[in-house]
């Protein structure tokens, strides 16, 4: 699931309205106005005037600890990464002005794909302009009319939109429910193509999928498997290859989708695969073909960052330590969390209702802490969540400071 605030991941149907076509958004406009009328700082117009490091910024004039940026491995200010970007900007210019299949493949794009192949130890890698486009492109292209896509109901918006853009039959199942998935796979008409779409880490609650069992069941039922590892790359698994690696099923999945906008620390998306015909995707995948490629500086920073992530064992260990400490500390303070044990670098704090959730978010910002406010309808079971994503660059002291901020804000708002 997603970063969105007023949008469910599963795309809503906008009913026709007569006259002003914007009338269909009146309910959303009212929802926003009501929230602001309660006196909270506008969660939708936060501006970072200065970014001091992967974990600190000046937000709305205040020195703020960043705990909601998905910058898991803190690569955004890595000196080697920044230097690679500066060099590529000077040597190759500010942009490619072209599609990957025309004039938009530079040496840097190739090197970035080489780095991904090495990172995942896979035969093929394809870089998209965003992670959203990677899911959109791969899912809508490989699952065609008469095929079936079986997906977790809590999937990210880019997965849902890939389904909506394609012509396949779309069959959702209850979140992380192996039996529900299996039943649906078994009901698919014989001979139909099947694609199972899963995520390693689900970003709303920070829980992971039981991939060992799910991938096994999917393969036993003749399905191809695509796993989105956006929130695990660089961090989970011995080599940072994701939950698929941790679960020991990386060789059984057909496609891994990922992003450069989290652990890698820039922007872009990718798909890696061992499918022998994978390279044809470059010609048939419309979100890959009909858009301009990433700027040279971006692919240079991505390639450098990916290579550094291969050996970032110490950072991975520190990030786990941070996640465990924050999870334990918030539990001790009496907050309700999305998972009983820390499963990823996301710790979701469940708020009793939207009003107190928004008040808590605002109180934390005043304390100098930025987290993500997630609210219905973007959340599972219509929960209001404060999502915290930790960074390997948060120091032990910063995590303690964060806990102090949560304690004061929680008492002020009356949650703990």
């Amino acid at each position: 699931m997603t970063e969105a605030i007023f949008q469910p991941d599963k795309p809503p149907v906008n009913e026709a309205t007569s006259g002003d076509l914007f009338s269909k958004f009146d309910a959303t406009i009212a929802m926003r106005e009501n929230l602001l009328a309660s006196g909270v700082e506008d969660p939708f117009s936060l501006v970072m005037e200065k970014v001091l490091s992967p974990t600190r910024a000046i937000c709305n004039g205040r020195d703020t600890i960043l705990l909601g940026t998905y910058n898991y491995m803190g690569m955004t200010f890595d000196p080697d990464v920044v230097a690679a970007g500066q060099k590529a900007l000077a040597d190759f210019g500010s942009g490619t002005t072209g599609s990957r299949v025309l004039n938009g493949t530079y040496q840097g794009h190739r090197e970035c794909e080489d780095a991904l192949r090495e990172f995942y130890a896979m035969d093929h890698a394809m870089v998209f302009s965003t992670g959203y486009q990677a899911n959109l492109g791969i899912i809508s292209t490989i699952a065609g009319k008469g095929d079936y896509v079986v997906l977790d109901i809590d999937s990210h918006a880019s997965i849902w939109d890939g389904c909506k853009m394609g012509d396949a039959e779309i069959v959702p199942f209850k979140h992380n429910d192996i039996e529900a998935m299996e039943k649906r796979l078994k009901r698919i008409p014989e001979g139909a193509g099947k694609l199972v779409v899963l995520e390693g880490v689900y970003s709303m609650l920070g829980d992971i999928a039981p991939l060992a069992e799910m991938v096994k069941v999917a393969k036993a039922n003749g399905a191809m498997v695509l796993v989105d590892e956006a929130h695990s790359m660089g961090f989970i698994g011995e080599n940072g290859r994701g939950v698929v690696e941790q679960a020991g099923v990386i060789d059984d999945v057909d496609f891994i989708i990922g992003t450069f906008s989290k652990s890698v620390g820039t922007v872009g998306g990718f798909c890696v695969s061992n499918h022998p015909k994978f390279e044809i995707m470059r010609l048939v995948c419309r979100p890959y073909v009909f858009t301009a490629s990433l700027p040279p500086s971006v692919v240079a920073t991505a390639a450098t960052s990916i290579r550094k992530l291969m050996s970032a064992k110490a950072k991975r260990e520190h990030l786990w330590k941070n996640s465990q400490r924050l999870h334990a500390g918030l539990t001790e303070l009496g907050f309700t969390l999305g998972t009983d044990e820390p499963q990823s670098a996301i710790v979701a704090v469940i708020m009793p209702d939207l009003e107190r959730g928004a008040a808590m978010w605002s109180a934390l910002l005043t304390e100098g802490l930025y987290v993500n406010l997630a609210r219905p309808p973007a959340t599972p079971a219509n929960m209001t969540l404060l999502r915290c994503s930790l960074c390997a660059e948060h120091s032990d002291e910063e995590v303690e400071t964060i806990l102090g901020m949560f304690e004061r804000a929680g008492k002020l708002v009356g949650i703990i």
Partner: protein
């Protein structure tokens, strides 16, 4: 399985989801009359799928707005 039997089985499944006790007719709408939100729709569809051992894909769901259309769709599937 005839349409009446499909109808009565769906009626018993719908009961716990019909919180307001709306009288159900063929032209009762799920979104409007029954006020099903997306989470309710998911649970309800899953219950129907399991009862009849069928798949009602999202593509099919998009075409189903009224109770009678659901009965027809399920009846069509169990008899093919």
């Amino acid at each position: 399985m005839d349409r009446d039997e499909v109808d009565s089985r769906i009626r018993s499944i719908i009961e716990p989801f019909n919180k307001k006790g709306v009288a159900i007719k063929d032209d009762t709408t799920f979104a409007g009359d029954l006020e099903f939100d997306s989470l309710t729709v998911m649970d309800f569809v899953a219950a129907i799928e399991d009862e009849f051992d069928i798949i009602i894909s999202m593509n099919q769901q998009a075409e189903i707005e009224k109770y009678g259309q659901l009965v027809d769709a399920v009846h069509g599937q169990v008899n093919t």
